[in-house]
């Protein structure tokens, strides 16, 4: 599979890099659900039943938050890209019609 990098794809990639940089400036204010939970007094009901490896988008607590955010964004993109490629292959292999490949 050859990937031809067109001008438009270049624009999208540059846009993605720009967005990754923007994650460093993400607001730490509560989101709508957290705000509502605090307002109605059930925020403390939250409990951990599973511990994720990069909990709260943090690779290492000693790294600056901005760096953690950017690295998390990159890791997420890599994982999801892999997942999309994998699922597409899976769906294509299951296809009964070989012309669709």
């Amino acid at each position: 599979m050859s990937v031809r990098i067109s001008r438009n794809l270049m624009i999208v990639l540059i846009g993605l890099v720009f967005l990754i940089a923007l994650t460093a400036f993400s607001s730490a204010l509560p989101d709508g659900l957290e705000w509502a939970a605090a307002k109605l007094g059930f925020l403390s009901r939250e409990q951990e039943m599973y511990h994720a490896p990069l909990s709260d988008y943090t690779l290492h607590s000693r790294l600056p938050e901005a760096v953690n955010q950017i690295l998390s964004a990159i890791i997420g993109i890599v994982v999801l890209t892999g997942a999309m490629v994998g699922f597409q292959r899976l769906f294509r292999n299951r296809s009964r019609n070989p012309h669709e490949r």
């Binding site: 794809l9 989101d31 659900l33 307002k39 007094g41 059930f42 951990e48 890209t81 294509r92």
Partner: protein
């Protein structure tokens, strides 16, 4: 709007997992069709974009912040069923790797932001199109339809989220639905504006990438 562990009771957890799992299972063939047709680059970019956009929290009045959810946006690009699937993948990765949303709440989060976010927004968009807000009349009318549908995609998910919280006995159903609905009525405006601008930009640059364009022919 990612529900963490500890908020939902067992019946709500089981119910939301069943509805989400059942819906995704029943649309698997349609998802497969689209996944075979679409280019890998487009699918990967869409998932990457939604993931990163969800990391960018923008301050909103009243001490809250919001971010793009992207379910309806994805539906505009690949159709509602693949959009539900892509949103489910994004939510699963967020939960498994970054603890964004709980393991027990994944079914509810997929239902609120994936299935209702993508499918609900898409239904509203089609309803508005039938009502005359479509691109054949003017791009402005179509943009308005995109804005309204994107707003509803967040609002409907938020109301459903409020219902799940209320049914779990965290507070009265009226209270949880009311507060989730009202705070997301404002956060939803962000979804509307962002979805509309992205849609218009791609419509100008690469209209062939937009799924809903292929339906008019």
């Amino acid at each position: 709007m990612h529900i963490p562990d500890g908020f939902l009771t067992t019946p709500v957890i089981v119910g939301t997992y069943a509805i989400s799992g059942g819906t995704l299972w029943s649309v698997r063939k349609k998802v497969g069709e689209q996944f075979r047709e679409q280019t890998t680059v487009k699918l990967a970019m869409l998932a990457a974009f939604i993931f990163v956009a969800q990391m960018i929290n923008i301050p909103i009045s009243g001490g809250t912040s919001g971010h793009l959810l992207g379910g309806f946006l994805a539906a505009l690009f690949v159709g509602p069923y693949p959009a539900m699937f892509i949103m489910s993948l994004v939510l699963t990765v967020q939960m498994l790797i970054f603890q964004d949303g709980g393991l027990t709440a994944l079914g509810a989060n997929i239902l609120n932001m994936g299935i209702v976010g993508a499918g609900g927004g898409y239904l509203i968009f089609f309803f508005l199109k039938k009502m005359g807000l479509n691109g054949e009349r003017s791009p402005l009318m179509e943009s308005l339809a995109v804005f309204i549908a994107a707003w509803f995609s967040v609002e409907l998910g938020a109301l459903l989220c409020g219902l799940e919280l209320g049914l779990s006995g965290l507070a009265g159903v009226k209270l949880t639905v009311g507060i989730m609905g009202s705070v997301h009525a404002i956060i939803g405006l962000l979804e509307g504006v962002m979805t509309m601008f992205i849609y218009r930009a791609i419509q100008a640059l690469r209209p062939d990438l937009i799924y809903v364009n292929s339906l008019n022919r």
